[in-house]
C-alpha cells in the first residue's frame, strides 16, 4: 500500500488512529470466514471509505471496530488502546455510530436523542443541554424549532442529521458510519455529503464510512478501501490514485465506466493551469471599430467584452463589429462560466455548453482567464502518468 496521502492538515485533528491487525470473523457453522485476516491502518483525522459489493464483509469489518461484532481473532487498537480489552459498552460510548435508517429513538425528542450518550457518560444536565444545542447548530438544525420535535415529525434528511448529531454528541475521536445516507433522495444525499465534509473540516475526526456507492466514496474519502470477498483489501489508496490506476480487474469493475469523468470531480479549476491570455478582453465602452482593429492586430477573431467591474458580458466575433455603434448588443452573451472553486467536471460542462471555451471568474465575478477542452484532457493525461508507476 502506498502512502500518498500525508499532506499536513490545516485544521486540528481530534481523531485517533485505528489499527486492525489480522482481524478475522468466523461465524459458527459456516465454512468460510466473513472477514479473513484483515489488516489496515486508518490514519487519525482522515475519512476512510470501505466500498465493495453487498455481502463482501465491509459492514462486518466496520462493526468489529466498536465490537458490535466480536472478532474471532486479531488485534484492534484505537489511539493505541486495545479495543478488545475494554468493556464493550464503554468502548461504544467513546465511538460515534451512525447507521442507514438513522435509528433514532421514536419515543424521544430530537434533543433527548442527542443527549443519550452524554447522559450515559453521566455529564451534568447543564453541560448536556449546552452540548445538545451546540450539536444541533453544528448539523444545521435550529434548536428552537427542532429540539422538541419527535423523529417522526422530521424528513429523512433531518433524521440523518440528528443521527449524526447523536453520534458526535460526546465528541468521540472516531466515527463509524454505515451507509448513513443510503435511504435518502439523491439531492438530500448530496447536501448531507457536503455537510459531512464541512463538519469534518472543522472537527478532524477519524471516520470509517461504509458504502456501496463508489461515487460517494470518491466524494467523501481521503482514502478508499475497495474490498472484495471476505473483506479482502483489493486496493487501499487515495480516490485519485484508485481512479487513475485501479489495482486489478475487481477494482476496475467497481470504479466502473467513466473513471476519468469521476476524476474531474476531484479537481478544481484553481488546481489547473487555465489560460490567462488566450482571449482578447475589451471594455464595453470601447468603440467597435477600435475593437475590430485590436482583433486584427492580435490575429484573433473573438473578443470578450467586460463591464466596468471586469465581469465578462459577451462574446463578439470580428465580423459582427462592422457598422456597429456600441458593444452592448453585439455578439452573444456569456452563458455558463466557472469559478476557481468549481470542479473540473463543472468546467467541462461549461466548456461543452459554451462551445469549446469557458470563462473562469474570481470571487467577485471578475475575469481571470479561460479554460478549454485541451486543458482538461492534459490534466487527465498527467494524473494517469503520475499514478502509472504506483504499486497498488
Amino acid at each position: 500500500m502506498t502512502e500518498t496521502l500525508d499532506q499536513p492538515t490545516e485544521q486540528g485533528v481530534s481523531g485517533a488512529e485505528i489499527r486492525l491487525e489480522k482481524v478475522t470473523k468466523k461465524y459458527p457453522n459456516t465454512a468460510a470466514p466473513a472477514v479473513e485476516e484483515f489488516s489496515m491502518t486508518i490514519p487519525a483525522g482522515k475519512v476512510v471509505v470501505f466500498v465493495g459489493p453487498s455481502g463482501c464483509g465491509k459492514t462486518t469489518t466496520m462493526r468489529m471496530i466498536n465490537r458490535m461484532v466480536e472478532p474471532t481473532s486479531g488485534v484492534i487498537t484505537i489511539g493505541g488502546q486495545d479495543a478488545l480489552s475494554l468493556d464493550a459498552d464503554e468502548l461504544r460510548r467513546g465511538i460515534g455510530y451512525a447507521i442507514q435508517q438513522a435509528g433514532l429513538f421514536p419515543h424521544y425528542t430530537v434533543a433527548q436523542n442527542i443527549a443519550v450518550v452524554p447522559g450515559l457518560l453521566k455529564w451534568d444536565k447543564k453541560r448536556i443541554d449546552a452540548r445538545v444545542e451546540e450539536m444541533m447548530d453544528l448539523v444545521g438544525l435550529d434548536p428552537g424549532t427542532f429540539a422538541k420535535r419527535l423523529p417522526r415529525q422530521l424528513s429523512g434528511g433531518q433524521q440523518q442529521r440528528v443521527g449524526v448529531a447523536r453520534a458526535l454528541a460526546a465528541d468521540p475521536p472516531v466515527l463509524l458510519m454505515d451507509e448513513p445516507f443510503g435511504a435518502v433522495d439523491p439531492i438530500t444525499r448530496g447536501n448531507l455529503q457536503d455537510e459531512l465534509l464541512r463538519l469534518q473540516s472543522e472537527l478532524g475526526k477519524t471516520i470509517v464510512f461504509v458504502t456501496h456507492d463508489f461515487d460517494e466514496a470518491v466524494k467523501l474519502g481521503d482514502k478508499i478501501a475497495v474490498l472484495g470477498d471476505r473483506s479482502s483489501i483489493q486496493q487501499y489508496d487515495t480516490p485519485d490514485a484508485i481512479l487513475a490506476n485501479p489495482a486489478n480487474d475487481t477494482v476496475a469493475g467497481f470504479v466502473g465506466a467513466g473513471a476519468s469523468l469521476k476524476q474531474l470531480t476531484l479537481m478544481r479549476v484553481r488546481d489547473v493551469q487555465y489560460h490567462t491570455d488566450e482571449v482578447l478582453a475589451v471594455g464595453d465602452h470601447e468603440r467597435p471599430a477600435a475593437v475590430a482593429e485590436k482583433l486584427t492586430k492580435a490575429g484573433r477573431v473573438y473578443a470578450l467584452v467586460l463591464d466596468a467591474r471586469k465581469r465578462p458580458q459577451r462574446w463578439v466575433h470580428v465580423r459582427e463589429l462592422a457598422g456597429r455603434q456600441d458593444l452592448s448588443t453585439v455578439g452573444k452573451p456569456v452563458g455558463d462560466s466557472v469559478s476557481v472553486q468549481s470542479t473540473l467536471q463543472d468546467a467541462l460542462e461549461a466548456i461543452l455548453t459554451e462551445g469549446g471555451r469557458a470563462v473562469v471568474t474570481g470571487n467577485r465575478g471578475e475575469l481571470l482567464g479561460t479554460i478549454d477542452i485541451d486543458t482538461v484532457t492534459s490534466v487527465i493525461a498527467n494524473v494517469r502518468e503520475e499514478h502509472a508507476g504506483d504499486e497498488a
Binding site: 458490535m68 455510530y97 435508517q101 435509528g103 429513538f105 421514536p106 424521544y108 425528542t109 450515559l120 417522526r152
Partner: protein, 215 residues
C-alpha cells in the same frame, strides 16, 4: 322485590364483593404481567422460544377453568390461592403473546443504534425496547383483565373472592326468593366493573404511552 331494591338493600355486601372482585382481578393481571413480560423478554430473540412460549400459554387457556380449579383444590386447598393461581395462568397468554409481538416489532435499526452508541443490554431493553413495546403489552393486559373478570366468577366454586359467590348462590337457589335478583346483581356487577376497568386501561394508556409512538 325489584332488582334495584335488592341491590340497594344488600349494597354493603355487594359493594364489598365487587371491590374484592376487581381488586383480585387487577392483582392477578399484575402478577400475570410480571411473569408474562419476563417470559416474553427471555424468549423474544429466538423464534423457537417465542413459538413454544405462545403455544404453552395457549394450551393453558384451553383447559376449562372449572376443571383447572378442581384440579388445583386437592393441591393447594380451597380459598383464594387456587383462584389466584388459575386466574394468573389464564391471564398469561395475551400478555406473553403481546410482549413477544411488541418486542419483535421494535425496528432493528433502533435496537442496533441503542447498542451501538453504548447502552448496556439492560439499558437497551428498559429504555428502548420495552418502552416501544409498551402499547402492545398494555393491550395484552387489557385483554387479560377483561377475560379474568369473567373467569373470576368461576373462582367462587373454589370459595374464591368476588361476585362469583352471588352468581352461584343465586343459581343454586333457583326458584326461591330473590335467587334471580342475586344472580343478576352478580352478573351485571361483573359486566359494569369490566367496562369501568376497561376505561381505566384506556386512561393508563393515554398517560403512559410516549407521545412519539402514540397513533
Amino acid at each position: 322485590m325489584s332488582l334495584w331494591q335488592y341491590v340497594a338493600e344488600r349494597w354493603d355486601r355487594l359493594s364489598l364483593q365487587a371491590w374484592l372482585h376487581v381488586s383480585g382481578v387487577v392483582q392477578c393481571v399484575i402478577l400475570a404481567a410480571i411473569i408474562g413480560v419476563a417470559v416474553g423478554v427471555l424468549v423474544y430473540r429466538s423464534s423457537a422460544g417465542s413459538a413454544i412460549a405462545t403455544a404453552l400459554s395457549s394450551t393453558i387457556l384451553t383447559i376449562p377453568s372449572f376443571a383447572l380449579l378442581g384440579l388445583l383444590i386437592p393441591i393447594v386447598g380451597l380459598g383464594v390461592t387456587p383462584s389466584v393461581i388459575a386466574l394468573t395462568l389464564y391471564g398469561l397468554l395475551p400478555i406473553v403473546r403481546n410482549t413477544i409481538v411488541g418486542l419483535a416489532g421494535v425496528d432493528p435499526a433502533v435496537s442496533d443504534a441503542a447498542k451501538g452508541i453504548g447502552m448496556s443490554r439492560v439499558g437497551v431493553l428498559s429504555r428502548v425496547e420495552l418502552r416501544l413495546a409498551w402499547p402492545a403489552i398494555l393491550t395484552g393486559m387489557r385483554v387479560s383483565a377483561q377475560m379474568l373478570m369473567g373467569i373470576a366468577v368461576i373462582a367462587a366454586y373454589a370459595k374464591g373472592f368476588g361476585l362469583g359467590s352471588e352468581v352461584f348462590s343465586g343459581l343454586t337457589r333457583a326458584g326461591s326468593a330473590n335467587s334471580l335478583n342475586q344472580a343478576l346483581a352478580g352478573t351485571l356487577g361483573v359486566v359494569i366493573l369490566a367496562l369501568i376497568l376497561d376505561g381505566i386501561f384506556v386512561l393508563i394508556s393515554r398517560l403512559t404511552v410516549p407521545r412519539g409512538i402514540r397513533d
